[in-house]
Symmetry: C2
Subunit: 173 residues, 2 copies
DNA sequence: GTAAAAAAGTTTTATTGCCAACCTTCCGCT
DNA sequence: AGCGGAAGGTTGGCAATAAAACTTTTTTAC
């Protein structure tokens, strides 16, 4: 059976021949590439579940903190609060999240998972466990805790930097 | 006409009281949060330079690999090739990048920096060095190499997974 | 040689994200 | 009270991204 042999891919520059220059060891670049790879790997795992991978953290945080407000939720998962509005609209419409008014403060909503939302969270958690097992293998059990602590430090220190803005060393063009 | 109020963001709900559940130690989540913080910190540093931070890797890769094709470039910086089209249009329009046809293959373009593009790259490199020095301080010199090697491993291993994955991504449009 | 398949780029469509402006509600003052 | 500012949430505008469909050109199969 004459299956067509795959021709050798001939891009102008093979990917392994690329010169990354300073990017090679630039933490910001590697962080972005690793995050992108991790996200897409999880998306493949979670493909069967009828929910976008970005919704996972939202569901988990609501499930763990019933009654949480939208602003607190947006802070917890590092997204702008306006980003949350369409997401929650969708989750409520699909019967996964319940949004109820707070009696003593009519500005805020109280968020909670419905029974269906909890089932969905369980399915996603199964994907996450599988994904995390992959990452465990890649990182190595011994380094995992240390690696996580560095990620947390980056997150915390750079976020607090937001307060003291850099003095602008303006360059002319 | 009411004067627009200066909004001062206050952490109304204590973010430290949030229960992150399994997210607390989930590598994918921490990667996303750290990457987001790093990206925004760099964006603040590069604010003065008249170029979006996302363009930096693109310029660096073109500068280091003159004659590279768009597809090879998209692979090298981990973005879809369709994403590159408007970016390059903009860079060409601003005189930073030159796009020329390859004589023996009229499908591909050859990308290269103009003199202005090289100057811009130098400015951005200065920001990157400053940013990286911050990250050095946070990570710690001793752990830096190890941390980078883990990020590279995540990137490589999870990307290679993509090849032998089920091709079942049917989406209606 | 010619037709089919593959590759490079572009366009279209949809999602996700931020920011700024806005509305409503609450709270602190006087 | 009632006024002004602060806080919770929504809306609109814009940028970045990816996936699929499409165009042009090249390569492969026969």
């Amino acid at each position: 059976m004459p299956r067509k042999p795959k021709p050798v891919k001939r891009t102008a520059q093979a990917a392994n021949a690329i010169d990354y220059g300073p990017l090679e060891d630039w933490v910001g670049f590697r962080l972005r590439m690793a995050q992108s790879a991790s996200f897409q790997a999880f998306a493949r795992l979670a493909h069967d579940v009828n929910l976008k991978p970005g919704r996972f953290a939202t569901l988990m945080l609501i499930g763990r903190n019933p009654g949480i407000s939208q602003t607190a939720l947006s802070l917890a998962n590092g997204r702008d609060k306006s980003t949350l509005t369409p997401v929650l609209n969708d989750l409520v419409k699909r019967g996964l999240v319940r949004r109820s008014r707070t009696p003593d403060d009519r500005r805020t909503y109280q968020l909670a998972l419905t029974a269906a939302g909890q089932r969905m969270l369980k399915q996603l958690a199964a994907c996450a466990i599988s994904h995390d097992r992959n990452l465990d293998r890649i990182i190595g059990r011994r380094d995992r805790a240390h690696f996580l602590s560095i990620l947390r430090r980056i997150e915390v220190e750079l976020s607090s930097d937001r307060a003291n803005e850099k003095p602008s060393g303006r360059r002319s063009r």
